[in-house]
Amino acid sequence: MSEVLLDIRGLSVDYRSSGKDIHAVRDLSLYVKSGETLGLVGETGAGKTTTALSILGILPEVSARVRKGEVLFCDDDLLLKKAKEMRSIRGQDIAMIFQDPMTSLDPVMTVGSQIVEMIRLHSAVSKKEARSIAEGMLELVGIKKERFDDYPHQFSGGMKQRVGIAIALSCNPKLLIADEPTTALDVTIQAQVLELMKDLKRKYDTALILITHDLGVVAEICSKVAIMYAGEIIEYGTVEEVFNNHRHPYTDGLFNSIPDIDSDQSQLSVIEGLAPDPTNIPTGCSFHPRCPYAMEQCSEEVPPVFYVNDSHYVRCHKCGFTTKEAVE
């Protein structure tokens, strides 16, 4: 139960654009145990999607470069795999659900054949068998199997996302990466899809990395959370720890900028300023220009990882009261 499925160590990814290096992901480490749900939270440009794409090995070839790091999946470094090997892992062991169900399905293929394609790619079954598995998958995500031969345009947004989930789960992957799976959906449809994902997770015990900017969705479905800022994980811990006992000023600011539904506020507290330009990340702590608690040290030294407890860490000088050794 507690075996580590995915272990990312010191991953750094750059994009090259008009002669400048954009540091999209910087020295990122995280792990996911089997059956666990990790929420990856951050604003636009924090490096969430880049992290997901590097796990799957589908970064844009021309512009992106993995500078260093390892992505260990079942103790195998995915970054060293050949293209062909990756192709069999993708879909089979690690599958992805994309953000926009309107564009991630092929408009000229029936939804059924898109599921069948996935199944036949990874297992040697006959067309007939694949069809019956695919029909089963459709029923599982709450779509009648009679709609197997319909095209994506005949489905609503929520139904398309269900098809996306059916495709991703059809090979029973060990790890599922969902990139903003409900962002494009209305709240009542989002609720349906979240309930479905929770259900299926319970049934299949798949590990899930959920990329989102919505802390509400995280509270609903995740067991661990990683908060990203300017390509780094600045806080990581169990949902309980991060929601009730967060230590990083950015995490705090993020929670405070969401209007509270249970009380009346005359004003929202805001984080001043903007996320840093990824071509020109501030020295020291990347958050220090916006941080209300910034000290001199913050602009000079990159804060190391401080452990609040075994499963909760923060990258912030202010929180540097304890190290993992001290806890142990």
Binding site: M159, A191, H213, G216, F243, P259, I261, V270
Partner: protein
């Protein structure tokens, strides 16, 4: 009735399609006083934006009346309408596509003034600088182009452009939906501060209920072209009446742990607004639907502190 700044009565907007009429906005009524914010919520396609646009005659309403300071806007001639437009403004959802990429910030804002023939060019420049300070845009951005600005600043340009004419009523069509939460908080604070200072009335359209609750005085919930419930924001959240409002509220993901609640997961999707169901439009997804809902369309009626269109409350 006559104290209100804006009075919308029986507003309808139908679009002809090849499959029949699309009932985008079907007979809605509300009023708005000076300095008040009315939140308009609902799912995609329920007619929120169409309502906003129909009030400003950006798409001509099919029927109905819109009284602004006692004057029926829909009956105004071209000339009068042009004058009124400076008092009735709109801020659009997507700051990436609502600004002309070939105009600088200065031109974008000044254009509003120039079109209305206000001041000479040096006066206009003064006004532009003033309004930029009001919405928190740095003066150095005067000659920048939209692609050089981030989303939050672009939305500030959109707001500046609406405010520079000194309007009294502004339609806010999802002004923060395209923005990250931190920037969203900055813009919401700005909008509320401006309202306190200048007494603007906002029609705040959004699908994000926590944002709407934060900014609105009253909230109207729309479903398939109709208002199904309208009440004070506190009443709506504490004591929602319409089954759709209840489901909508229970579906909001709340960033808190251990908050127990009964989620009402609605079945199915919103039906098509082309030939919508007869009787109550929500009946197909409503857990309490009965015979009467099939036969008779409920009217918006007063019920306690709120107005609800549902047979359960009669």
């Amino acid at each position: 009735m006559s104290n209100s700044l804006l009075d919308v009565r029986n507003l309808k907007k139908y679009f002809p399609t090849k499959d029949g009429l699309l009932y985008a906005v079907d007979d809605i009524n509300f009023s708005l006083s000076q300095g008040e914010t009315l939140g308009l919520v609902g799912e995609s396609g329920c007619g929120k934006s169409t309502t906003g646009r129909a009030i400003l005659r950006l798409s001509e309403p099919t029927a109905g009346e819109v009284f602004y300071k006692g004057e029926n806007v829909l009956k105004c001639g071209k000339q009068r309408m042009k004058e009124l437009r400076s008092e009735l403004q709109i801020v659009f959802q997507d700051p990436y596509s609502s600004l002309n990429p070939r105009m600088s910030v200065c031109q974008l804002i000044e254009n509003s003034l120039a079109v209305n023939g206000i001041g000479d060019s040096s006066e206009r420049l003064e006004r532009v600088k003033e309004i930029m300070a009001v919405v928190g845009l740095e003066q150095r951005l005067l000659n920048s182009y939209p692609h050089e600005l981030d989303g939050g600043r672009r939305q500030r340009v959109g707001i500046a452009r609406a405010l520079v004419l000194n309007p009294s009523f502004i339609v806010m069509d999802e002004p923060v939906s395209a923005l990250d939460v931190c920037i969203q908080a900055q813009i919401l604070n700005l909008l509320m501060k401006l309202q306190d200072e200048k007494g603007y009335a906002y029609l705040f359209i959004s699908h994000n209920l926590s944002v709407v609750k934060h900014i609105s005085d009253r909230i109207a919930v729309m479903y398939l072209g109709r208002i199904v419930e309208i009440s004070n924001y506190q009443t709506l959240f504490k004591n929602p009446k319409h089954p759709y409002t209840k489901a909508l509220l229970s579906a909001i993901p709340i960033p808190k742990l251990g908050r127990k609640r009964n989620r009402i997961v609605l079945k199915g999707d919103v039906p098509s607004p082309i030939n919508p169901p007869s009787g109550c439009r929500f009946k197909g997804r409503c857990p309490y639907a009965n015979e009467r809902c099939n036969a008779e369309e409920p009217k918006l009626k007063s019920c306690g502190d709120s107005f609800v269109a549902c047979h359960l409350y009669e």
